[in-house]
């Protein structure tokens, strides 16, 4: 990897392509979870690697991991797009987040989530602002530690802690509200 980084920084295109192929999935999936939009994520992927190429001289391997640097660029590109979006509608067609067409009988048990819970969590994520959504993605999808998240976002660890706390609280509040609506509907039917 160190060899690849060195070659990329000298402008070696095959090394750059190798980095692209290695990280494109991660960048793309992180971007889609942060923007909630496939087209935006495709654009983020392009912009991230254009930046990786043009700004290659600014990366200093002695000061941090390549992946941390890459995450930072990805988050910045995603946040810019997420901020510019209109308020997100709760229509699944508009946000292109249909329920996955997987066979639940074939999934390991830990992967199972009820459809209701799935939809409510996605809805709740879409209500988060550009400060809170990325920290949840970095922690619960990318499995970064709080310290790593702090490095990516260039904020103190304490701020990471409070953002995660607030973001999760917001999700739980949204889920509770949704559960209340379900209960009230059930009551009406009686």
């Amino acid at each position: 990897m160190a060899d690849l980084i060195e070659k990329w920084q000298t402008g070696d295109m095959s090394a750059f392509e190798a980095l692209f192929q290695q990280y494109k999935g991660l960048v793309f999936k992180s971007a889609i979870l942060m923007t909630g939009n496939r087209e935006e994520a495709e654009d983020v992927l392009q912009e991230v690697f254009m930046t990786v190429l043009k700004a290659r001289h600014t990366f200093d391997a002695s000061k941090g991991k390549f992946s941390t640097w890459l995450y930072r660029i990805t988050v910045n590109q995603s946040i810019d797009r997420y901020r510019k979006k209109q308020p997100v509608s709760l229509s699944f067609e508009e946000i292109n987040l249909d329920f996955p067409t997987v066979n639940y009988r074939e999934l390991p048990e830990e992967a199972l989530v009820s459809k209701w819970e799935y939809e409510r969590l996605i809805e709740a994520m879409n209500l988060l602002d550009s400060k809170h959504r990325p920290v949840l993605v970095l922690r619960y999808f990318n499995d970064l530690s709080y310290k790593e998240i702090a490095e990516v976002l260039d904020i103190p660890v304490g701020t990471v802690k409070s953002r995660i706390h607030n973001a999760l609280r917001s999700l739980r509040e949204q889920m509770s509200l949704a559960m209340t609506d379900v209960n009230m509907e059930g009551g009406k039917n009686l």
Partner: protein, 297 residues
Amino acid sequence: MNCKDAEKLIAAFLDGELTDKEQDLVREHIATCQRCREKVEALARTQNSLRRVLKLEATKYIPSPNAWRRLRQRITKEEQLEVTTQGLAGSILKAIKSIGMGRLISRRPSWKAVLISMLALALVVSLAVTIPLLFGQDPKALAADITFDSPEVQAALSDKKLEEVQVTDVFGDSEHTLVVLRVVPDYVLIADVNLEIKEVMQVHVLELNYEKKQEIFDIAKVDPRVQGLLEQGAYISSFYPVYIVNFEEIVGPDGEIYREVSVEFIVDMRMELGEKEYLVVVDLTRGEVVQLIEPTN
């Protein structure tokens, strides 16, 4: 530790991100506070569900199979635009020096004035850089010049807006310099230029108009894999032209080695089925599907 302080630390506690002392304090508190213990259990469920949902959600999406190619072309275009702008600006400056501005405009076909005006700003900006080029023309810029001056190319571009024509690649040697012109997204023209005699030897064109797309679809749907996708409800979302240039060295009757160049066009046809994307590669020369790339996680 009181409930208010404990609550702020629950997420970090579950994530294992507290100091040893903080962990102990929270553990001691929830051992004696049922309300906070229930909050820990509820938050743990939320965290676990969130992990599953995000990972499940991410598995639905993969980057477009064209992502690298699109990036590479953008890089090439930006590099080429830099070279072409400087080179063309240099050649225009040279012409201006030798024949004067007024005769430059009338000398060239009027449509070329559009291209020149586009470069006016670049001329001002790149003047200091292009002055050295006045003493020797960049071969890529020369090839581009010859291409645009060619009657055959002018005829091929006659229904195109010149400001949309981009030089996206120039490569080869002095006998065969390939100049690639694109009108994004559906038109490719490749001119085979001989720099030694300063002529366009051959022009290859692919235009993805309606009739051509229909022809491509007719070729593709014969393939059983494509048929299978269509039967499942897949639809075609885009076509993208790709060119392949083959350089072949042959030995002539006189024992000399000659280079021959051939150009093939293939088309990337993207098909979408639900959230999945398939890439169907259609070879127009062979008239068949040569590859079908399925999405991978």
